[in-house]
Symmetry: C2
């Protein structure tokens, strides 16, 4: 197996040189931290990931969770890892001091989680869900809840989950039917079925705390009648002991990948004895849940990027070491074979992998920076960054997930027959990464969120702010004549985006909602490519600037690699928007102007 | 599991209406056969696939082959299936009467194999390899070989294989090192290692007959020193018994998919007691082997299409039955949910799947028709069809393999979380189909074959013939005003192809071989999209013509479905060539003008 699964050099480049995370230290919330803290944290994450997570990548895949006597057994290392994450303060790292957190920027903690996920994606489901659930309690729960649950969750003793999906309500949350009935004892009695609940039960934690959406009896239909509950697997008796709370595991799914983490179907209140604790106000559950969903969406984009990263380094190492064939101009069979990295098609595949991986990672960190800036500033600046985060969340979820699939697939291709076999982790990466376009809102859902909500909100304010960000990067690129061709290309791409968006908005204005959203997925794809081009231009600017001053030979090679990969993106990836724009501008609406009899054969 | 995995209606449409396979009956070789024979054969194939193959799809995946005491154990049904295929005459169906074949057109037998592969892809590895190996013996073997081996292979008693790859020579056949030493006993003594040999050993057959390439001691280096040998697992003693021939199984690979069929690593002649029988003349092995390789490449394209077909019907059935959400203009949560096929994004994904599947199948059958016409005609017509088959083989191998991956992935996406779980066969299809872009020559190898050899051969004659075929379809489409916009689009696409090709050829003429081939894979992608657009236009012409006359309601729906899917292809898929053409026209050659230090991070 490859020894390298992430690049520390690239993380430093993105954190400090491209996104200047150090600027956060000037904000009161982060004032205790400097680059030294961040480096310490990142070094520890790298060490943990190498010593604790990476060695169990394959084993956790092969020894997938099983349901035994009503309980889910996971790999024994899950408990060890949760303990380490808890004791090391990783789960609450970005939370406020007063709840036991460390007030680290999410930009930095996400970089650490990315390192963990690159080492062993499945294992990161446990702490990330716990962190998201704890954050929800911190933001909207009662003081009692905060005191009772949060410390144990942040300690990695209790697992947190996100319990939304039901058999009849997957992407359509307005149709959830789990019902909560008030009692006079300070809790609700809840009953229902939840499916596809990640880490929904396991023996790596002493308790599982579900963030569950349900309807209070008599609540209005649709999303306006959804409330958020805290539903523990074990409830706490008056003397502090744990007793079962009538939450049972119906199924552990057998999955294509992501096998280290159990995904469960849960029966809640089968014996009418499940107690649920309302979080915040009745019927406002979905608005609370969006905090966790948005965090999870960025988390999914990060995890997809991490898997694609590990696959990139596996392919790169293989390509450097595997001799095979000769260059087209030197076919003499008596000469030794060359390493396959010498073949232009292998280089193209490696550049593709790298362009996707490092473009996606830059976008994820960009979004985290917006989150940190939004979260710690109350002013117009806070609002501005919140809107940028809003519009980019569906992109940061989807681009790494969809393009990550293709990126890993190209890596598998580089290994040829070996890529298809279990000797190398590539086939696992290929299985693992496929979940990300599905969970936390499918690509189709993200596309409707982007076009239907985010682009349209506040008369397009978020979109204007987004275009301003791109324009600023273009402006800084224009200072370098070598970058001018690329900033010009990004300008042209922005024109195409404006044109396509304008046309879609006009359709929306005419009230043609179906037509407006019909090709939202293609719109998201177009938007994603342009966004990553922007992130590459930003990286190109930093690299060009560094090359213009004196730098070490190693650094020089690194920056040249960045420039070259940027060029790859602009020459090979950005042109894909041409076909997409053509398609979006046409007004055929083939998916609307049809009957299902088209599919009768 | 879905009940439908292929469409008989579509097969009839393609075989009789689009490709007019009945015309073959006018050729002497096929004169005994009429549409009635073909229908009988196809009906039997459908019945066998439903009763015998489909029921074991999942089981053969889960109970993958194991190596026990030096022998490979496969699922017990493999022996049953081989017997049925043998006794039913399927393995030799397209071979001449004199060797026990039935002289059926490969267009028809491929349609049958497609049905088998859609039911259970892994199982079809066994008969198809046996057929290819037997065909090689028939074409180039001695009479004694034909008598000794072919009948038992066609009976499904003995397995045939294709033994090319070696540890140090995967895509680079010029580097094979397996060595054969002549003896004075009519055989060679052979020694070497072969890896990735499909069906290389198993207990579902009584013997395994390897078509193995090797170097005769003292042979020239490179491909000019490769000879072809028949190497049996068990050799035949003078009294007709079988005795071991010193071929041992070193490994059975554990694979991502294709698990029903063992892929093996073989040690040949470890005890210096492996007898090999030369086929044809020394040092001409690779030219013989190309017969089997080309057949296998079409077979791979067919198998990829078959898996994608089964995935399409699984997704279609799910989409029709699964209620989820409401249309954007009718979000009232008190109304019942709609089946997801009502959502435009799901329709888009289904149309994508169908456009890939039925476009690819049409191309596969087109190629088979060319093969049948080439094989049975000695004249210029035969030559013409041989060249068309030549140039289209890399496309027919690659388009279904690469686009099949995406097509199955979209089907998996339609099933959401269920697509990722083992309750549905989708995750298996997703694993199974990934092999096809790798084996029998990776996509990169196919691309160099297309651009470097096929396009350039005979001063571009094959390309000119290909363009003539497209032009003929365009001409017939122009008769219908509804099709005119699409024939115009295909004309424009041909212009783009001509322009790109011209530019590449100019580079080649300047002797810049590396630059010429640098983006061959993108050229193949462009070529593939245009080729499938042609196949869709051909289908559109037939459908339009049928709609212009009177037809039943069912037929009307079928033909409308064809027209609609054709439109989908032209509006959503064909525009992808814009970005590809832009990329190919540029002269950056980023993959050449770089050093590997770009990848030092």
């Amino acid at each position: 197996m490859s020894e390298k699964f992430v690049s520390r050099r690239n993380l430093d480049f993105l954190l400090y040189e491209v996104h200047d995370v150090e600027r956060l230290s000037s904000l009161p919330y982060y004032e205790d931290h400097t680059r030294e803290t961040y480096e310490l944290v990142l070094n520890t994450a790298l060490k943990m990931s190498r010593d604790l997570m990476y060695p169990y990548l394959k084993e956790m895949d092969q020894d997938a969770p099983v349901l035994e006597d009503g309980a889910v057994k996971v790999h024994p290392m899950v408990r060890t890892m949760m303990k380490e994450w808890g004791e090391g303060g990783w789960i609450g790292a970005s939370m406020p001091y007063e709840v036991g957190g460390q007030q680290l920027p999410t930009t930095v903690t996400t970089a650490c989680n990315y390192v963990f996920a690159a080492a062993n994606f499945s294992s990161t489901g446990f702490p990330l869900l716990t962190a998201g659930a704890a954050h929800l309690v911190v933001s909207f729960g009662s003081n009692e809840m905060k005191e009772t649950y949060v410390p144990r969750m942040l300690a990695g003793e209790w697992q947190g989950t996100m319990a939304l999906t039901e058999p009849q309500a997957g992407s359509s949350l307005s149709d959830i039917g789990t019902q909560a009935e008030p009692t006079d004892k300070g809790y609700y009695r809840i009953r229902g079925q939840k499916i596809f609940i990640s880490a929904g039960d396991h023996d790596g934690a002493d308790n599982v705390i579900h963030m569950m959406i349900a309807r209070i009896k008599g609540a209005p239909p649709g999303v306006k009648g959804i409330s958020l509950f805290l539903v523990p697997k074990h409830r706490i008796t008056s003397d502090g002991a744990l007793e079962p709370n009538d939450v049972t595991v119906a199924t552990v799914y057998h999955k294509l990948g992501y096998r280290g983490c159990p995904i469960t179907q849960l029966s809640i209140g089968e014996n009418n004895d499940c107690r649920a604790y309302l979080i915040g106000e009745p019927n406002r559950g979905l608005s609370y849940m969006f905090q966790m969903m948005n965090e999870a969406r960025l988390g999914v984009g990060m995890q997809a990027t991490a898997i694609a990263t590990a696959a990139y380094y596996t392919a790169l190492e293989y390509a450097k070491e595997r001799p095979q064939g000769r260059n087209p101009s030197g076919k003499d069979a008596t000469l030794p074979q060359v390493p396959i990295i010498e073949h232009s098609d292998v280089r193209r595949m490696l550049l593709f992998q790298r362009a996707v991986v490092e473009g996606a990672l830059s976008l994820i960190l960009q979004c985290c920076l917006y989150a940190d800036l939004a979260h710690t500033q109350r002013s117009e600046q806070g609002q501005r960054h919140a809107l940028l985060l809003d519009i980019l969340t569906p992109v940061a979820k989807t681009y790494p997930s969809e393009m990550g699939i293709l990126s890993v697939s190209q890596g598998l291709q580089i290994l040829g027959g070996y890529g298809y076999c279990q000797e190398f982790p590539m086939e696992q990466y290929y299985r693992d990464i496929r979940i990300h376009a599905i969970h936390e809102g499918t690509t189709g859902i993200q596309a409707m969120d982007l076009l239907g909500r985010k682009v349209m909100s506040k008369d397009g304010l978020a979109l204007r702010l987004y275009l301003e960000e791109l324009q600023a990067t273009i402006k800084s690129a224009e200072q370098y004549s070598d970058l001018k061709p690329y900033s010009d290309r990004l300008s042209e791409a922005m024109d195409a985006l404006r044109k396509v968006t304008m046309q879609r908005v006009e359709i929306a204005m005419k009230g043609k909602v179906e037509a407006f959203l019909a090709d939202a997925t293609l719109f998201l794809e177009l938007f994603g490519i342009i966004t990553i081009a922007w992130q590459w231009l930003a990286q190109g600017v930093v690299a060009q600037k560094a090359l213009a001053s004196s730098c070490s030979e190693n650094d020089g090679e690194f920056y040249h690699g960045k420039i070259h990969t940027m060029k790859y993106f602009f020459h090979y990836e950005l042109p894909k928007i041409q076909g997409l724009a053509t398609r979006l501008i046409e007004d055929e609406f083939l998916t609307l102007h049809m009957t299902n009899s088209v599919f009768n054969d």
